[in-house]
């Protein structure tokens, strides 16, 4: 059967993608950030996941204001790279896993999570920057990817509790798929940041450190945190962190923390990164 073996959390700041694409990773501003992912690149080269279930948010790219799905799963065969206003990022196209994605859709909807099902959409930096951080610049991504988009653009996003429980449904959906597959789940976005208004630039290292600790050791308690705490403490866009709870919900109660990294800043944002392995 298919198994979820590990979870990865990482921020997905667009400027990180631009730094790689423009060859700036060795510059003083960026070098410390990319050093934090060196372990991760080696780790994933050893782990060789077959499929990444990649939780991210679309940034007014595939979805405009015409319709706004709270949870959308990419069931298509492939996903093109979006032009976000400066041309598409020069990265390989994303190859989906329609058999697993459709199987998971049916399983998850039967557990009362009303997913929007997508055959065709373009993917933006929210999805491609994490792939770049973990895999560098290959000619083709060495794994299939199931994009899973969560609305965090229009308030309210789903609650932390709902995200955490969705993660559990995702795990059951994966484990009921007959084919032997090594599946990882990634939660992206965050950490503390605010992009808008006079309070833009807010960073809260104490909040972020506690969030990382509790995500590992107390996810059930962390899932109870209301949106207002994220927004007040970690910036209006810090609420993206609810997506990390989807990843965490799909893992064992006790996990092995293989790697942790934290860095400020990348553009307007605090970058956080975790690698968690299932122990069972």
């Amino acid at each position: 059967m298919a198994r979820i073996t590990a979870g990865v959390a990482t921020s997905h700041v667009p400027a990180i993608g631009a730094a790689v694409d423009l060859g700036k990773t060795q510059e003083d501003y960026w070098a410390p950030l990319f050093r934090g992912y060196e372990f991760s690149k080696q780790w994933i080269a050893d782990e060789k996941p077959d499929v990444i279930f990649l939780v991210y948010n679309d940034h007014a790219t595939a979805f405009d204001m015409k319709f706004i799905p709270t949870f959308a799963i990419g069931c298509g065969e492939r996903f093109n790279i979006a032009d976000e206003g400066w041309g598409p990022r020069p990265v390989p196209e994303v190859i989906g896993h329609p058999d697993l994605a459709w199987h998971m859709s049916q399983s998850i909807i039967q557990e009362d999570f009303d997913l929007t099902l997508i055959n065709e959409m373009e993917v933006d930096h929210g999805l491609t920057v994490p792939l770049t951080l973990m895999y560098g610049q290959p000619d083709a991504w060495p794994c299939r990817v199931i994009p899973f988009a969560v609305n965090v653009v229009l308030y309210p996003p789903p609650s932390g509790r709902r995200c955490y429980n969705l993660g559990k449904a995702i795990r059951r959906a994966v484990e009921s798929f007959d084919e032997d597959l090594n599946v990882q789940i990634w939660g992206t976005g965050g950490m503390s940041h605010q992009l808008q208004g006079p309070r833009a630039g807010l960073i809260n290292k104490e909040f972020d450190a506690e969030f990382l600790d509790r995500l590992v050791d107390d996810p059930d308690g962390l899932a109870a945190m209301p949106h207002i705490d994220y927004m007040r403490e970690a910036g209006s866009e810090g609420v993206e962190l609810v997506m990390w709870l989807i990843m965490r919900g799909a893992l064992d109660e006790n996990v092995n923390e293989r790697h942790r990294f934290y860095h400020v800043p990348a553009s307007n944002t605090a970058v956080g990164h975790l690698i968690l392995e299932n122990t069972s």
């Binding site: 229009l154 605010q194 992009l195 808008q196 006079p198 630039g201 807010l202 207002i228 307007n268």
Partner: protein, 129 residues
């Protein structure tokens, strides 16, 4: 009964909620149109004429023309949508964000490199009186 909006007392912050989404629908669709290169070109050629094609208020048009992003927010603009205008203007998100804080870009960048804006004194509007 009114909706509970506990985020109203966060200083310098406008949460893009259902009221804002209602107010800003057409404005944000205008920003979204700038995803296409041909629309960016047409807009830059004659900004007012392009804006007049959209059913948005004169106040919203003026805020766009002046690149007054705090005003854009107060009139229903969403940062991920008006970010398309940063890119149309060939500006980064960092420069765009800095413009809303009243800081010079370099000053803002230095603040970020030094660890960002502290949350201390920035949690509640009352703290700023």
């Amino acid at each position: 009964m009114a909706l509970d909006k506990p985020y109203k007392d966060i200083p310098g912050t406008t949460v893009f909620d259902s009221t804002k989404a209602r107010e800003g629908y057409h404005l944000n669709q205008f920003f979204y149109s700038l995803m296409k290169a041909e629309n960016r070109e047409r807009f830059l050629l004659d900004e007012k004429a392009y804006l007049d094609e959209w059913s948005i208020s004169e106040e919203q048009k003026q805020a766009v023309l002046e690149r007054d992003y705090n005003r854009v927010i107060s009139l229903g603009g969403n940062v991920y949508f008006f970010g398309k205008l940063f890119f149309t203007d060939q500006q980064s998100f960092e420069i765009g964000a800095a413009s809303m804080t009243g800081m010079a870009t370099k000053e803002y960048r230095n603040m970020m490199i030094s660890g960002g804006r502290s949350v201390e004194g920035n949690r509640y509007v009352e703290e700023q009186d």
